[in-house]
Symmetry: D2
């Protein structure tokens, strides 16, 4: 028998991926435009899946299941700037037969500051937009611990530790 | 003395502006990518101001006041598609000395369907990012009824009613 | 018999559509980010078609023909700013059996300044990405003069001439 | 004395950075929207600089020099798809006192296919948009070989070679 604690445990697994703020993501205030945080949430979701051994693309292409966004929420706590390295932290906050919620934190690497927090709610549909349940196996994979070891990497170049060649 | 009813009355004023979905706003699901609704909310805010006789740009350029986004929320109720004409409905849901909240509805013109609803919370800052109160006069303008008559127009061409020339 | 002059004449038809610069389109330099001009070119193409009585969407949905972009060029002559009203001028510069080129000018309405010029080259494909020729009738429609009278409209609200209500 | 060959040699240095296609970068054709290649070119430029020991941001912030885009060109040779890993190859094709040109290739990692090639031309300006020459030292840095060893990394997670933990 599964105790509630065991069932909830995987939800504690935050996944972390790094990205670097692009020039195109800034606006005339000199900071990141607010809609771009939702783009980063999407990257967080994709990498959360990849760390569990599957690509979100597989789910669409091989299993006719799409995670349509039903809700998004973001709280902007501090501005993010061009060229900032940001850690996107992602976890699952709710998993049901036909729906799913992710929670996120965006952290500035340079100072550990949380620049934003958010949440997205998703419904599983087929390619015709009809609500369906998760395909076989996905609920387990999504709540399992990461099965491949991943190295958080910045969106782009990471100067090696060794310094000048 | 102002009664609560009078004070609240302007908040009932929804402003409506039309736009047309761009190809760039769609994604591989064939529908509008979820972050773009926040871009449309921003257009709703800008046009809400313009209908009240000022450009949001004036507020930034002439009065050193920026409406920094502190929170965003969107509920996606139906997909929006390329080339759809959408009505962005915007109103103020809360106005304080140093902050402001807008509420939104996105309606598909072709069938009157509400495709999304949302809300954004803003803090007033100066160009250095310090919280400040609204500059003189803006609270009144924001809650006043529209002072210029506006014609909702689509994002781009509207074929005239008269048909072929 | 059609003389070369007659055949070329329609190509002289520039189509004009108005849009207003969005906050999301600016970057930290305080001007429009350079990739967004290509988004505006796409709007120019779509409205060029609409003025000739069809939606580019019809071509995709009803006639299985997609205008895949093969080339893009843009010369940036002056910066565009938030809230600027811009006229996107579009015409066809070359039309072949399986390909098409559009030319563009982006003009700032306030001062008539040309802020950018560009060109895009397209190949006609089916939904599987295979090159095909234009579906029946499209070559004629594309080079015909506009068949619906259109009113250039700004991206969003245009305060009416009549002034305050 | 510097021979022409020596002067030109650094221009042969292509810099390579990896990124992964985002869902937001696709459109309803199921492929990457054409304007996004220009965003990737910008990442290529930024990482080209970083590999030579400086951030493009330093140039803006510390030396009041901005690389304003004057021209962009892109040839789209094959579609790029969601989740593709792409190598952005960047080099300098021309360097003058007040201007600079970069050339680019975008390569799909999975099959080595060149999906796009492009070029951008830039003018150096100060923060007021006035043309100026490169600040002291930048011409040398830009044409020098990379001074930090960099490891190309994907836009996001790279599963480690070691496989499951």
């Amino acid at each position: 028998m599964t105790s509630p604690a065991q069932q909830d445990a995987p939800f504690e697994d935050w996944h972390e991926t790094l990205l670097r703020v692009r020039y195109s993501e800034t606006d005339k205030m000199g900071i990141v435009y607010y809609a771009n945080y939702l783009v980063w949430f999407e990257i967080g979701r994709a990498e959360y899946c990849r760390a569990r051994g599957f690509s979100y693309l597989d789910m669409e292409q091989n299993d006719d299941a799409f995670l349509v966004v039903a809700e998004s929420y973001c709280r902007y706590k501090a501005p993010a700037f061009y060229d900032d390295e940001l850690l996107v932290r992602t976890h699952i906050t709710e998993l049901r037969r036909r729906s799913l919620r992710f929670g996120y934190e965006i952290v500035r690497v340079a100072n550990g500051q949380i620049v934003a927090e958010g949440e997205t709610g998703h419904v599983v549909t087929d390619s015709n937009g009809r609500v369906r349940s998760f395909p076989e196996g996905y609920a387990q994979r999504l709540t399992a611990p990461p099965i491949v070891k991943t190295t958080p990497t910045t969106g782009n170049e990471v100067p090696s530790q060794e310094g000048p060649a």
